[in-house]
Symmetry: none
Subunit: 380 residues, 2 copies
């Protein structure tokens, strides 16, 4: 099998799934003790909304099962050892990604974090398995460990990959919440966050409980961006349970998989102590897309606008008359608020809600404010 076949891995097409996917009932807010691949294998198809994975880079932690049977070569030969290592790591990665893909809902998404040691293997495997990369995100550490020897650049970041089930798959992205979190600017692909230390860093007998504990702030942003309250989040490499703790805090359900008893003990204790936020604090800014739609005609029907009223653009270059059916009349031409705005500007499209204005006490006000007023008055 060559490169072509490798890339031709079975790809999940939207149409190949049932239109209505009934989520199987699964136990949530629970930790599964065992190997991530065999534990994922026990879960039904399409039951997870988001996966967050922090896989090991070191094959001693996860790869023994994947070493070729009897293929042990001369240990003196470094090249063969490397060959063994990269190949094993790739097979390990593909195996757990394949299970992850099966249990992830069609509109779910996956996050994987890694460093330059493994992230290129992971990214390639994600693409080969049919996942569709949406962004790569750089976690820029504000206080990284210096490079003591001075032989390279200070390794001051880690990379996360965010991917959907496929090119045409939908996915959850709370755009407005991210924009709000970033002082009203679009959230970028580089995130500046401190490493996990101080009180947050879990200790056991005075030493770090886990070598690569991730900061809760990182999971907080991931989960706030890509899940809704009540969603099920799976972490197949649970470690000390940062994913579980943040999920509980943010009102998401969680499933963790971990096989080291020491980590499990610390994780359960930690999550037990985590305090969930109350509902009003969990509410996030919604995009206009997520709000109920109001047709322009509704404003006319309900008397917010009277047929015959004149609308104007912001610069008073054009005017249009509102008709009883919610269409606009410009000269002899008629159409929707959007179509007429586009036609007049000779543009491919136009948002009529912000283009057209109505005169109130001598001042022009976009008709979108009328819609907001209507929504406020008519929403539960």
């Amino acid at each position: 099998m060559g490169v072509m076949e490798r890339v031709a891995a079975p790809r999940r097409k939207k149409a190949a799934r049932p239109i209505v996917v009934e989520a199987a009932h699964i136990a949530t807010d629970t930790l599964l003790r065992g190997d991530c691949i065999s534990e994922m294998a026990k879960l039904p198809d399409n039951c997870i909304d988001m996966i967050f994975a922090d896989p090991p880079y070191n094959l001693q932690l996860g790869g023994d099962l994947f070493r070729p049977e009897g293929g042990r070569v001369d240990a003196v030969d470094n090249d063969w050892d490397k060959f063994d290592t990269l190949g094993s790591y790739d097979r390990f990665t593909k195996s757990w990604l394949r299970e992850a893909r099966r249990i992830l809902k069609p509109n779910g998404s996956i996050w994987v974090i890694g460093s330059y040691h493994n992230i290129f293997r992971v990214g390639t495997a994600l693409q080969d398995e049919g996942f569709w990369i949406l962004n790569d995100i750089i976690w820029r550490k504000s206080n990284p460990m210096p490079n003591f020897k001075g032989t390279r650049f200070t390794n001051a970041h880690e990379t996360l990959i965010w991917a959907s089930q496929g090119e045409d798959a939908k996915y959850t992205f709370n755009y407005k919440a991210m924009k709000t979190l970033n002082d009203e600017l679009q959230m970028r692909s580089d995130w500046v966050l401190p490493i996990c230390g101080g009180q947050e860093r879990l200790k056991r007998n005075g030493t770090k409980a886990h070598p690569t504990q991730k900061p809760e702030a990182l999971l907080y942003r991931v989960m706030l961006a890509c899940t809704k309250p009540g969603d099920v989040v799976l972490d197949p490499f649970f470690g000390t349970g940062t994913t579980g703790a943040v999920a509980k805090r943010l009102g998401r359900k969680w499933i963790g998989i971990e096989r080291e008893d020491d980590y499990i003990e610390v994780a359960l204790e930690r999550i037990e102590a985590a305090l969930p936020l109350d509902e009003s604090a969990l509410t996030i800014m919604q995009t206009a897309r997520q709000q109920p739609k109001v047709a322009f005609g509704t404003l006319v029907e309900t008397g917010y606008l009277t047929p015959g009223v004149l609308l104007r653009d912001a610069k008073r270059r054009w005017q249009a008359e509102v008709r009883a059916d919610g269409s606009l009349l410009v000269g002899t031409d008629t159409g929707s608020i959007h179509k007429m705005g586009a036609t007049l500007q000779n543009a491919p499209s136009c948002n009529g809600w912000t283009f057209w204005h109505v005169e109130v006490e001598g001042k022009l006000q976009p008709i979108d404010t009328l819609r907001q007023t209507y929504l406020l008055a008519n929403e539960p």
Copy 2:
């Protein structure tokens, strides 16, 4: 052939090389016209000190993309960026990397730049061919193009991989120069630099000469870090010759390979005109752009403020609840700290950092002090 064989590509062992490598005499400061693989094939073994490569990214763009105000994005739609499958892109990548590895000196190093579309394929291929990754470097763009549709995170960075010939290979790294360039702090793996625009951006007949011209500041830092004066730098995807121009300015020799006549013409003219750097240009290249400020949401994510906490103004006239996304809730109205402060005071604008306070031991403290605390704890 599976993953195992794929990884077993012929690899060059250090011991298989002569201890003393006599550099073959090659023509430098020259542009080779043609395909990068066949032109590299004409060069002798072990003749290049550093390779900088900016290969096609294999973007897979859909139809036209329009900006909110109506303009059309001038996308990369060149034939040189089109590949049929991931498999054919991988084969192309491995082919040019194999030649690159052959002509690179044992103690040379290679840089490759890419985005999430291709960089994981490139990184995997580098490792499979036997290169040893030293760092991945993040070019954080200070002025990236926004995500116009609000569907993902703003794609605000590109990734560079820096690799040596192997785990035990030596390589050039001018540690002190990098530290000096970075105000006596170790140079980190994330570099903030603006994209190439303004006067630097080369034009032909009023339009950009190349769709993906790289900024000279990026090459300046790469070359200053990893080459010595007189070293030979090869760029197999020369484009409009940024690598050549910077090499000339820094007293390095250069070889470029390019097959498009239009680019060649522009590149030669540009390099001809390139002068040794003057002080002002040096300052621009060395000065890191101002880091982004701390967003209010970051304080929420990192636990400096908990969602649900109440903020008050200095005179306790109003109060607001902090929500999970860093927005404030006052009555039924929501918005950023600045917007809500302005709304309540009926003012055109408001500095939320000084307007809002949090109660600590019975006393009100402006939230700006929390920001100061955060900065003190997390500055690099």
